[in-house]
Amino acid sequence: MSRITIPIGPQHPALKEPISFLITVEGEEVVDGDLRIGYVHRGLERICQKRSYVQAVHVVERVCGICSHIHATIYCQGVETLLDLEIPPRARYLRTLLCELERIHSHLLWLGVLGENIGFTTVFMYAWRDREIALDIMDELSGGRVLHAANVIGGVGIDLDEEQIHSALTRIEDLERRMETFLGVIRNEQTFRTRTQGVGRLTKEEMRDHCVVGPVARSAGVDVDLRRDAPYAAYDELDFSVITAEGGDVWAGAWVRGQEVVESLRICRQVLEELPDGPISTRARRRVPEGEVVSRGEAPRGELIYYIRSDGSDSPARVKIRTPTLPALLVFPLQLRGITTADVPTVMSGLDLCIACADR
């Protein structure tokens, strides 16, 4: 049978962001795949180097349109390390709270996209409806649904009062109940299982060889989560489990992310109930002493790393950002081999690609 190469994207049927795929098929079977990114490359690393440390907080927050807060958190944390600055406990807890709310909203958004792509529109509708709960909490907390501008170097710029804590706890309780339904769908629903089980399967070795991170790697049994393994913010004082699964297919990814939402809700509850009193920020100097730092954290999609170098001035000499989507893009062609064309959108959404993140 003759081979045909189909270009898909950069304007996309399956994803909302620009990425171009070249899928080679023989009849119904996919035999090869390649991709091209860079359509939303904005040169943010260079832009950061032209701004002051304080201004760059707002630049890095715009790397991603889903997980904006974690970028600012990891960046600020790096600068604070360079400044040898300890931030107040209340600030660490508030940072953690937003990180986890962001994870919840990111994972539910993903579940919705997956539902849509496997033709299970009900999951899409419900997941995006319930994602609004997380967005509402964040909106109430920071005044922004996605961009929070919560971080400042030396702490956070937003605080919670008793009423907001109470309101957030009520909403979290609501979301906890709804998550039981989603986990039930992922575990038991025949349509969901048939469309996702065994699709896009990767082994643990393949994940490790390609340096894949986050829920994708954990779905194949790579037991790494920086919240536990290299704790930052308030994670070393909180109780949560790291979720792993076997199989490395799209279903295992859904199972891992579903349970991670439950764990994130647990973390949010702990943060809100045990929020320490005190100030929310300390004063930071504008000039940062000469030095370099590697700052890491667990974004919703996995390990996020910032390398910041200071030359002693008030703007960074080098900011390097590696987002978790980049290594995931590397395994995408491997996942495609041997699947049918109908499963291509499932695999595309299964990786939870964030193209704006990868392109920077």
Partner: protein, 144 residues
């Protein structure tokens, strides 16, 4: 990750005059190595210590040289640092040892002009197709 054991292996197996080691805050060790020893060093990390998680490669233009930083992680951070001459910088690819290095090397190549010898597909990753030939966005010359 036992950093002392790794350093002992480096001292024993690599041809080095001396080994410059620096600890930076938040559990990161930076080891400076000559560029021709990087491939061998990474091979040792993978073979002896099963340390395969390359987080990324940072390239920095420091004026007369290009500095490369290979950030590894396994419970704590290990960064291998090397520098290359700015005129025609070359270094061996890591893709034969760690396939995950592919995109990181392509990025450093297009942004800073470092050629990774032996890379199977050294092509543009982020820059548009009509980006000027020889224009390297993260080089200092481009700052104007």
């Amino acid at each position: 990750m036992n950093i002392d054991r790794i350093l002992d292996v480096f001292r024993a197996e690599l041809s080095l005059d001396s080994l410059e080691v620096r600890d930076v805050p938040d559990d990161e060790t930076i080891v400076a190595l000559p560029s021709e020893e990087i491939h061998r060093a990474v091979h040792l990390l993978v073979e002896r210590f099963d340390l395969r998680h390359l987080s990324t490669i940072t390239g920095v233009d420091i004026g007369d040289e290009i500095e490369l930083l290979y950030h590894f992680w396994a419970g704590r951070g290990l960064t291998l640092r090397t520098s290359l001459p700015k005129e025609d910088p070359h270094i061996a690819t890591l893709t034969d040892v760690i396939p995950g290095a592919s995109f990181y090397e392509r990025e450093v190549w297009e942004m800073l002009g470092v050629t990774f010898d032996g890379h199977p597909n050294l092509q543009r990753l982020f820059l548009p197709e009509d980006w000027g030939e020889g224009s390297l966005p993260l080089r200092r010359e481009e700052e104007k």
